[in-house]
Symmetry: C2
Subunit: 328 residues, 2 copies
């Protein structure tokens, strides 16, 4: 299929309304989701801290610090429940959902998909769960950092497994679209490998670059210019947040980290033996140009797939694997 084959989607593929939404956790991601959905959707939130709940209420949002009551309310109106708390807090939340809202559709906005899927399956085996991951964030956190525009133009991965229910998938995708994001369908393991490469590895490379630079002298940091500033920026993220993200994706991160070490070791040998950094500099330049070419053009939409038709999940994944996106 080439790009010129693009066809209007059949009417049955038009995404449904999101329906009511219940957001668990009102930090940067969950709080921003509460803000942006409130314009078009019946949405309410829960947060453990009454301080955060008071701040959200003061800004005019529907929020509570009572988890059982919030979940019973979600059960009564069939709201989609969105997990928006750090992965370490999920087991307790999943247990509460299994008790108070066992039949609700669940999704999440937490980084790593295989770990979250395992936690949900362990605590609530009968759950209707379709994971998600918006590629958005800042180095700030908490309700004060929330922003209704946080997801505008961002990519939002929606879990697309062979057993994913089409109606559930469309409802989760509708939340991403309502937030202003673009939907990227992917299998959990493919997503986790991808973010290991394009997000978690960059954190470790930034940390190593920063640590080597700062180990030199005040002279080195004084001479530091753009390449050091940009190359170490994400090392400034709060260590606890970085660790939670990276350590939850250990298997995929180990693979890409080993590949990076191999590439650096090979070029060290070339530099020592032949005085050359040609191979890595050329590979990196080609890779950067490929990224710039992709990110400078509007994404090509996935075409020719009706969500719910036989093999729809595989076809969405196949097209997304080439960089296409689902636009509803």
């Amino acid at each position: 299929m080439t790009d010129s084959d693009a066809q209007p989607l059949p009417a049955t593929a038009i995404p449904p309304e999101t329906g009511a939404v219940c957001v668990l956790g009102l930090g940067l991601i969950g709080g921003s989701l509460l803000r942006v959905l409130a314009d078009t959707t019946s949405v309410f939130g829960w947060n453990r801290s009454m301080t955060t709940v008071d701040a959200a209420r003061a800004d005019g949002y529907d929020a509570s610090a009572d988890l059982p009551e919030t979940l019973r309310r979600a059960a009564a109106i069939d709201a989609v429940i969105v997990f928006a708390t750090p992965v370490t807090t999920l087991p307790a939340l999943v247990a509460a959902v299994a008790e108070h809202a066992p039949r609700n559709l669940l999704t999440d906005v937490v980084s790593v998909k295989e770990a979250v899927t395992r936690i949900v399956a362990a605590g609530h085996p009968a759950a209707r769960f379709v994971g998600g991951h918006p590629m958005a964030g800042t180095s700030h956190s908490g309700w004060a950092a929330t922003d209704a525009d946080l997801f505008r133009g961002a990519m939002w991965m929606v879990s697309t497994g062979d057993g994913t229910d089409p109606a559930d998938w469309l409802r989760v995708a509708a939340i991403a679209l309502a937030a202003g994001a673009t939907v990227v369908p992917a299998a959990d393991d493919a997503h986790d490998r991808a973010v290991a490469a394009i997000s978690h590895l960059p954190h470790l490379m930034a940390a190593a670059t920063a640590a080597v630079g700062a180990g030199e002298s005040g002279l080195a940091l004084r001479l530091a210019a753009g390449s050091f500033r940009d190359g170490t920026r994400v090392a400034g993220t709060a260590p606890a947040l970085q660790r939670a993200m990276l350590e939850a994706n250990d298997a995929a991160l180990l693979n890409v980290l080993s590949e990076a070490i191999d590439r650096l070791t090979n070029i060290r040998d070339d530099l020592r033996d032949r005085g050359s950094v040609e191979i890595l500099v050329d590979d990196g330049h080609r890779a950067r140009l490929a990224y710039e070419a992709m990110s400078s053009r509007p994404p090509v939409p996935i075409t020719g797939v009706t969500v719910g038709s036989p093999g729809w999940q595989q076809e969405l994944r196949r097209q997304a694997h080439t960089g296409r996106v689902w636009v509803g």
Copy 2:
């Protein structure tokens, strides 16, 4: 000495005028220097390509493609000669200077100082040479990219060896100040180790990150957000420019590259054996905060040194090693 010891510099330390300046090479760095000095100084330039010379003349600058004539003119008026061409072209230029302007003061704006010093000493053993390195640049090149504001606020390293002549040093420092930059005194080897850590290593880390990310799939590049974008930016620089810069600093680069590989290998072992990235993330975070603290404040001036007094070179280097700068 503490910051509160700052004293006005004695009158003898006020930098002299730059005198006349002759710039060899009118690419991004040399051309920008011609532009900014032309407001206050008698400055003229040479470039190998007549196209570049015509472009500079069309913009109102004094330029020539005749090297012997340009150098004889520099000799006649005792202009400081500035090497502003890639390191690979320097031997031929140095030979021409030794023939046509053997007694002129020489400086350069090329990245690596030990390599340049070796080339000058080999081709012109009697040269009066005080090297320099402005920490400024863009990913563009050539006369069309030149900008009189390129050096404004940038750090400009000026070689400060035990045998450096004070009058020559002050005249080279005056060029950096006239260009709008801030002077950082350093020994050649300390400078080369510093830029290996804060400029050359970041290029290799960016290349490895880009190559690993692009090796994944279109899905990975589609999901790439800020950490990948910023962490791979300098991999987009022209490969020939990156290679010339990095390979001329091979010894220092090998050291910091090995340290980066060690840090990444140690954290891979920790991640595999204990599921932890704590050590590297914490070290990187501390290092980034140290860099942000230094770059967010105006630099502290070097104080209490009269250029030319006994041991002035060592004292300038000692204070610069802690991050201080020379402001004239």
